[in-house]
Symmetry: C2
Subunit: 425 residues, 2 copies
């Protein structure tokens, strides 16, 4: 079984919105052994929408379309599908009742304009939307199954999982993929270490192995096609273990592991807690820790000491230190790390001070310069708010890229230092 994906919306062709639905659906379909033969973006034009449905249905067994189900006049997907099927749009009473109930739950009146969302092509079937107003549509065209879902990613995902996925017959082979996430070196270094496995995959002598890079995080994808899920897993697992053995400390983990979830796992395993003191990253590091559900078990507190006054008042950084070395310096980062451990407790602390840009750099201290401190309580207490001695270590980096990139790399690097400290403690 193969599939074509259609994304509707001028905002996509004009580049005003990033189409994340295609990648999400492609991943879901890959897991079902359904290969995506094409993904097309179509503008808000009735004839183009109609033609896209017809062409997609001729080309594949399954068409998954997203977008253009909203209540406003530029939402033409319903009419386009009706035109492709050669039928009229009709009111769907069930959908209308569901929408009215949705607005009642929100405590808002339903605008008249929303009524159009309850119209469907004749003989088509509504797919209930648990997360929003617009119902989806299931239809048939040229022997292909058509499913239309809202463009809002949250609504689309919920609808796909609850209403569309169960209807997709599992035919033929299963394609399974595993992902190993790495951090701390470049894609070419990793590529060289596993070049033989990539070649073997290309020659059909093993699972396919490929690398991707995103914001300094390297992903190694290992995919196999087999008659059953367990056969695919048996093909993937030895290769995955070989890669993990070769890459050692660079490996963060499997699947959706991030630098923060990897650090969180190490904290949990060590029954340790962490606090943060951030200047240049401005809360990003704390945000990453607390992205992980259950983070209150290991994350106690974070201080975003953006001003010098905050560094002094909150973390006890000596004002003289800032005066003589500057806020972006090794001694200030060390004082921030120790101050975090002293004032906030926590068995571990991370501290960051740097120049994220775009301005504020100079030849001696360029944009991208970041000091990252990592420290731990020397004593045994997990939350000692007083006490003297800490083990601290400060590293100096110069990260390339714009403000957002520098901040992201700095936060990832801090998380990685913590992970390695916990791993090798």
């Amino acid at each position: 079984m193969n599939a074509t994906l259609l994304s509707f919306g001028n905002e996509l062709l004009l580049g005003r919105t990033v189409d994340t639905n295609t990648s999400w659906l492609a991943r879901e379909l890959a897991g079902l052994g359904i290969s995506v033969v094409g993904a097309t973006i179509v503008g808000d034009d009735l004839a183009s929408i109609r033609d896209a449905f017809v062409r997609a249905a001729q080309r594949a067994d399954l068409v998954l379309a997203t977008g253009g189900l909203g209540p406003t006049g530029d939402d033409l997907t319903r009419q386009g599908l009706a035109d492709a099927c050669g039928v009229a749009l009709v009111d769907d009473a069930d959908s209308l009742r569901r929408m009215q109930a949705f607005f009642r739950r929100l405590g808002r009146p339903m605008a008249d304009i929303n009524r159009v969302q309850a119209r469907l092509p004749q003989r088509a079937e509504a797919l209930a939307n648990d997360e929003g107003t617009a119902p989806g549509i299931a239809a048939s065209l040229e022997g292909a199954k058509i499913f239309v879902m809202p463009g809002v990613p949250r609504e689309m995902r919920a609808m796909f999982l609850a209403r569309v996925r169960p209807r997709l017959v599992r035919g033929g082979n299963v394609v399974l993929a595993e992902m190993i996430r790495c951090f701390g070196t470049g894609e070419s270094v990793i590529g060289a270490k596993i070049a033989d496995l990539i070649s073997a995959g290309q020659a059909g002598k093993g699972p396919s192995v490929g690398t991707t890079v995103n914001d300094g995080l390297i992903g190694i994808r290992i995919a196999a096609e087999a008659p059953s899920e367990s056969a695919a897993r048996d093909a993937i697992e030895p290769v995955a273990e070989t890669i993990e053995r070769r890459l050692g400390d660079w490996v963060l983990g499997r699947g959706d592991t991030t630098p923060s979830s990897a650090a969180a796992q190490c904290l949990l395993r060590a029954n340790a807690t962490v606090v943060t003191a951030e200047s240049c990253t401005g809360g990003l590091l704390a945000k990453m820790f607390t992205d992980v559900p259950g983070s209150s078990a290991w994350f106690l507190e974070g201080e975003v000491c953006y001003s010098n006054a905050a560094k002094i008042a909150r973390l006890g950084v000596p004002a003289e230190l800032i005066e003589s070395h500057g806020a972006v310096s090794e001694p200030v980062c060390r004082a921030m790390t120790e101050g975090a451990l002293r004032t906030m407790g926590g068995s571990y602390a991370l501290a960051l001070t740097g120049i994220a840009g775009p301005t504020g750099g100079n030849p001696e201290k360029p944009v991208g310069l970041v000091f990252v401190g990592q420290g731990s309580q020397s004593g045994k207490s997990k939350t000692a708010l007083e006490g003297g001695s800490f083990n601290c270590r400060v590293e100096k980096y110069v990260f390339p890229g714009d403000r957002a990139t520098v901040r992201l790399r700095a936060a990832h690097t801090a998380l990685n230092l913590l992970r390695l400290a916990l791993k090798h403690r």
Copy 2:
């Protein structure tokens, strides 16, 4: 002039990576008056890549391709383009020298595997990469101009702006688009308020007007095609001003305005500063403030008081208050807001406490419940670290969605409360 976009990479077809390059390039091309007639994703297969180049070149005047220029064995774009052009790959000495210099600057040796990145189809031209190793490629095929760029967004964007954009002849009409960003109501309410303008655009009686929604932020796109940039602007501007007048307080601003940049502008205009106290958002709010370059002018400090101990020790929230009402409650949020103003100074403070989920909810306090506090110093001092009286206001919300959505909505809502307080002070 029209264009086709090609994105290469199994990671895209398997959904392991989101293709942000298509939307970015589409937006750039729209600004040049070049319409995108199609965007296709192609897997890492030599024949598919070759065929995709040929078909794209037959279909449009311009082909912009991204991805598959890395050093590893699954990077087949160079060979695929050479095959499509019916030529061989040859070494490009200039590109090799540039790459060696790039690695010298990084202080790392260049791996042998990288040498393949300096190979180009015969008669093609290298496009220097200022941000990474892989050079891009300029070539001709079937009368179309072909430009191949790296898949890494940062490298692609820099290369497009520096090397590709200057070569695209501006032919015919200019398409200009303006975006108005809104927050605080639903897409259908906004759609109803501007339904006449959407209809007029569809009837060709004015610029095209359409709405998009992303994470609760509503975008209104107004686009016009005209012989000159100034003529397009003259068509757009009166409509944009009508929309802004009708939507009033919901309007955040134009272009790339975000809730944080809108709040930042109000702070700058009022010569005011802000501090934050975050529980459920865990640093996200501070991160959003400091996303904005120059934020040290208005953002002083943020406290991520994730544990109850931190709320008590750092912000002076009375322990009894937490015991009797729970950490997620109106009185605790009020005490956090006042504590932030008292201990961190700042003319304004925002405080958040809530249940982001996925667990921790109960019938009385469900997942998604968030209290948002907004306060200001009653006195005149901008940074009074002591002092008694504050103006505080706490609002209660129940946000739908998963952990990330709840946190995002909560932070956006806090930023919006601050913006409105500053606007109407």
